[in-house]
């Protein structure tokens, strides 16, 4: 899929991406002739749907790794099915989105209260990493530095679990 700048009749180039924040992201395109920019906003479902296709927004610069979508889309996988190279693996539908997701993964600055950690540990182990990351994303998007039970309650409805 490409966007055309109608006045210039030129396909627009990927300029930058922002997010994902709480599952949504924006992807900015720019006309190479007139520099006009436009942004496409994706909601949670659209972000997930594109991710499911195993394609990379803006095109690929390197071939897909073997079973890239499968391995990167599992909530939890066996550690021995790790990437052949240290840099690959978690790269589902975009250097764009996966890089952004990876950037969001560091937990610096987010503190978990003991009560919140206890509740997290009560969740089945196979979804704990995904739930933990989503709650931290939720807190980060709202400028929160601590996750307590109140944050978990607020997030609970959004997880659908």
């Amino acid at each position: 899929m490409k966007f055309l700048c109608v006045p210039c009749d030129q396909p627009m180039n990927l300029h930058s991406t922002h997010g994902p924040f709480d599952g949504t992201m924006s992807i900015v395109y720019e006309c190479p002739s007139c520099d006009v920019q436009m942004a496409m906003l994706t909601n949670k479902a659209e972000t997930q749907m594109v991710r499911s296709l195993g394609v990379k927004i803006g095109g690929r610069t390197a071939p897909a790794e073997p079973m890239e979508t499968l391995r990167s889309s599992l909530a939890v996988s066996h550690e021995e099915s790790a990437s052949e190279s240290s840099s690959g693996g978690r790269c589902p539908f975009t250097g764009v989105i996966s890089d952004a997701m990876a950037a969001a993964e560091p937990e610096a600055g987010i503190h978990w209260s003991p009560e919140a950690l206890t509740r997290l540990e009560a969740i089945p182990s196979y979804i704990q990493p995904m739930v933990k990351r989503n709650i931290e994303d939720y807190a980060r998007d709202r400028g929160l530095s601590e996750i307590d039970e109140g944050v978990m309650d607020a997030m609970k409805g959004q997880l659908g679990m």
């Binding site: 949670k44 997930q48 499911s52 071939p63 079973m67 391995r71 889309s73 996988s77």
Partner: protein, 284 residues
């Protein structure tokens, strides 16, 4: 669109080294598709036919255990993922190999699982495509694809594999199973235009472990043969239930190796012969 085309090209390149891809299907669950798949792979291999197994049941994977490679974890090598190879050299690939253990269900990473119906089937199709295209199968005469229950599963597979050679249909001789299986056959022949290799009547009887006497599970009936005739597809034979077959597959052992003279083994070998003849006819 270029990337989607590249995905299909990659799939096409991989599958050039595979002679015939055959789906093992049934509209109904619990009829023994996986048992038949594992047994046929074993039987074909014993006939010198290079056979591989793909477990396409992403949410209920069991082929790794049945084929004797329950602890195998694939690893990337030269742009492909290594397939497990059991003690007879049969390559096996399964979603279960990517999960930490046999208790862990398949959960896809998402910001929310709510509304997963909008994207789950899409990511499963991507995963299935990658299991086919990114596995180092080697050169195979036959790749058996063990499908999950559901008439629509074959159609999904054909979307990925327009050159699917055919489908083996498994049923038990129960009215309930056969009604559903009949719909699956219609789906295969009328909607997806997939040739049905034949119907296998599984669990046709129970074999006494000591005396070898066979008692019918569902009474004396020729319903499955009638079903085959009604759809004008071959009837490949009946496999009696033998608890030793179930025990062997639970432990990843070859039933044919240890119980070759049992009625179920004789039936499996006979069916494998017919399947191989079918593939030879198709390729000639």
């Amino acid at each position: 669109m270029g990337q989607v085309a590249e995905q299909h090209d990659r799939l096409g390149r991989r599958l050039k080294r595979i002679g015939s891809m055959i789906a093992v299907m049934s509209g109904k669950g619990g009829v023994g598709k996986s048992t038949v798949t594992a047994s046929l792979a074993d039987a074909l291999t014993r006939k010198g036919i290079c056979t591989g197994v793909l477990d396409a049941d992403l949410n209920g994977p069991c082929m790794a255990r049945m084929m004797g490679v329950p602890d195998f974890k694939p690893s990337p090598k030269n742009g492909s993922m290594t397939a497990a190879r059991n003690e007879f050299g049969i390559p096996v690939m399964s979603m279960g190999m990517f999960l930490p253990d046999e208790r862990t269900p398949l959960v896809w990473d998402a910001n929310s699982q709510r509304g997963a119906y909008t994207w789950r089937s899409m990511v499963e199709m991507s995963a299935l495509r990658e299991l086919l295209s990114d596995t180092e199968w080697g050169d195979l005469d036959v790749l058996l694809i063990d499908l999950p229950p559901g008439a629509e599963r074959l159609q999904n597979l054909v979307d990925l594999l327009p050159n699917l050679a055919g489908a083996i249909v498994v049923t038990t001789p129960s009215v309930v199973a056969m009604k559903v299986v009949g719909r699956s056959i219609s789906m295969a022949t009328d909607i997806t235009n997939v040739e049905v290799v034949g119907i296998i009547e599984n669990m046709s009887a129970v074999v006494g472990p000591a005396c070898g006497h066979q008692d019918k599970f569902f009474g004396e009936t020729s319903m499955v043969e009638d079903l085959a005739a009604a759809h004008d597809v071959p009837y490949l034979g009946k496999i009696p239930f033998d608890h030793r077959l179930a025990d062997c597959l639970d432990h990843g052992q070859s039933y044919l190796q240890t119980h070759r003279s049992k009625p179920a083994a004789t039936a499996i070998l006979s069916i494998a012969e017919q399947v191989f003849s079918w593939t030879k006819t198709k390729s000639s």
